[in-house]
């Protein structure tokens, strides 16, 4: 027997074999599918993919379409408001629950419950609640305030905020639970030290506790942002993109182009634009976070 160094390829064989299905999936489905989509976005594909090269035509058409521009604008409004509000609401709820209150488990479950529901259910429920005929408006008018008007889903300018309310209702619970886990991870002696130093609670949260929770914030941010970019079913269930095209979003545009309008090339171009948008946000962040030297804290 020679005492050769064992072939590096065969080290940890079990782990490597176990990882093969995921590697294959990742390579063929994600990377392969993405590449294929990008390539065909430069073609004149209709009902079926056809390798008929048209250069940037699909993109020119895309950026000349009002519906796409509105979809992008809606995503920006929905995304920004959702991001800010879901964090603020989620964190405040978590901070309140962290005050050693009674029935914590019950309250936590109640607030998290919407997250367990399908966006389709959330969308329908909020469609009804915001319906002027039998929703909030009707109830308030029934109490006696006859001129009360609250029908965001029927007013194109603010319809996207009606969707936002439903999104917040569903998303805040998850953020709260994650933030609560983060708060529980803070050494309680830090709180004691801050009290001895005479630092008020809100200042302790902002200057000491939240910076300590950075990893939790990053995890939550990734979850929330992916949820925002792919928002689709909520829109379909709640407004169907309406009134008119007031609540269109990019994901829905892609879906409609590909499976309704038999215009694959246009759908591919739109989804490639979504990919580019996400990449523009993620890549600089990833370089900042993981690139270069490992930070020491």
């Amino acid at each position: 027997m020679s005492a050769d160094r064992p072939n590096q390829l065969f080290r940890n064989m079990n782990a490597k074999v176990a990882a093969i299905p995921m590697i294959v999936t990742a390579l063929f489905v994600f990377v392969g599918g993405t590449a294929w989509t990008i390539v065909y976005s430069f073609t004149k594909s209709g009902l079926l993919p056809r390798m008929k090269w048209v250069g940037l035509d699909q993109y020119e058409r895309l950026w000349g379409t009002k519906r796409w521009l509105i979809a992008i604008e809606n995503l920006a409004i929905y995304g920004l408001c959702m991001l800010v509000l879901v964090f603020v609401i989620g964190f405040i709820l978590a901070a309140l629950i962290d005050q050693k209150i009674r029935f914590e488990n019950t309250i936590r479950t109640v607030i998290l419950y919407p997250y367990a529901m399908s966006f389709v259910v959330t969308g329908l429920v909020w469609q009804w609640i915001l319906n002027p005929e039998f929703g909030i408006q009707n109830i308030v008018r029934g109490i006696g305030w006859e001129s009360f008007t609250f029908d965001p889903l029927y007013t194109p300018e603010i319809a996207i905020f009606g969707v936002l309310i439903a999104g917040l209702w569903q998303g805040s619970g998850l953020v709260m639970v994650l933030m609560l886990a983060g708060l529980r991870g803070i050494d309680h002696e830090v709180w004691k030290a801050a009290r001895i130093d005479g630092i008020p609670a809100w200042k302790t949260y902002i200057f000491i506790v939240i910076p300590m929770m950075r990893p939790v914030f990053i995890t939550t941010l990734v979850l929330v942002v992916t949820g925002i970019v792919k928002v689709f079913d909520l829109i379909v269930a709640q407004t169907g993109g309406g009134p008119g095209i007031a609540t269109e979003v990019p994901a829905k545009y892609v879906y409609d182009m590909m499976f309704r309008n038999n215009n694959l090339g246009q759908g591919f171009a739109a989804s490639t634009m979504m990919l580019v948008t996400v990449a523009l946000i993620v890549i600089p962040w990833a370089i900042l976070e993981f690139g270069g030297k490992r930070s020491n804290d």
């Binding site: 050494d187 030290a193 801050a194 001895i196 130093d197 005479g198 200057f207 804290d297």
Partner: protein
Amino acid sequence: MESSISIRDLDLRFGSVEVLQGLNLDIGVGEFLVLLGSSGCGKSTLLNCIAGLLDVSDGQIHIGGKNVTWAEPSERGIGMVFQSYALYPQMTVEGNLSFGLKNAKMSKAEISQRVARAAEILQIEPLLKRKPAALSGGQRQRVAIGRALVRDAEVFLFDEPLSNLDAKLRADLRVEIKKLHSRLGNTMVYVTHDQVEAMTLADRIAIMKGGQIMQLASPNEIYNRPKNLYVAEFIGSPSMNFIHGELKGGDFVADGLSIPMTGYEFADSSEKEGKAIIGLRPEHIATGDNLASAVSRTKAKVSLVEPMGSDTIIYASVGSHPIHIRMDGQATVKPGDEVEIGFQPARANLFDPSTENRL
């Protein structure tokens, strides 16, 4: 003695659980008091009550002559150091020291002067611009002490400050805390479960058990004249030998053992009779050259030897009684040997087996 902290009939209950019961304690100005006990004895709870981090159920706490029972922690004139350091991780050392002062709207000049003084005392000047993550455990704890120092508090509270450090650092920092105390002359209350820390640092030690103070006395008194069986067993490592027997006509008699108790100071200077437990510290059982000073001698059969360098612990039996003895580090003893040992009644402790109090 003028008292710096005075605790009156302190009660603390969590629901139906009594954590502290009718506790009274006076701590003198400039005194170093150590609260010592095993975990769950209420020592940290008491410290948190003094700090104002826990609301008391009943009783009063006075600090510096003021009733602070319901005052905010920051208004009590205290500084506190925690086991986990509890530094603010995203601030530099300087930020950690000055954050509380800035928050109290103190002038910049005053802050930098205080920070500079604390840094000088604790020799952390080169670390001021670093973040806690870039510091060693010992340095972090210095910064934590510094944060208490800049508050210019009359009273320092330490909650097991050295428990997270390794043995060497712990010994070093212990000496520094002692130096700090003699330099500043503040009142210090120090919670620990480490009896070495307690013995070396304290002016007085309060040994706690079940939310009550078992004995409050100087380290010397606690070591030499423990008030009850619990204190006797708790203090000293290796712990005291206990032998059950009887007091008969001035002698302590147990199976195969008889020790005349001449020279023993009874609690109310009257000799007792009847059942008793004798407590003998391993280092007070004489061997070798020290035998000359011992009153009664006997033979012990060695079963196990633990050489520790500076001294050697031997496990032996006298008659049917297992005992351990601290011998000189250079002693050459093997298991199976017989050694001659002697007792010094004046340094022994007698306890009543029923009340567990010192006789």
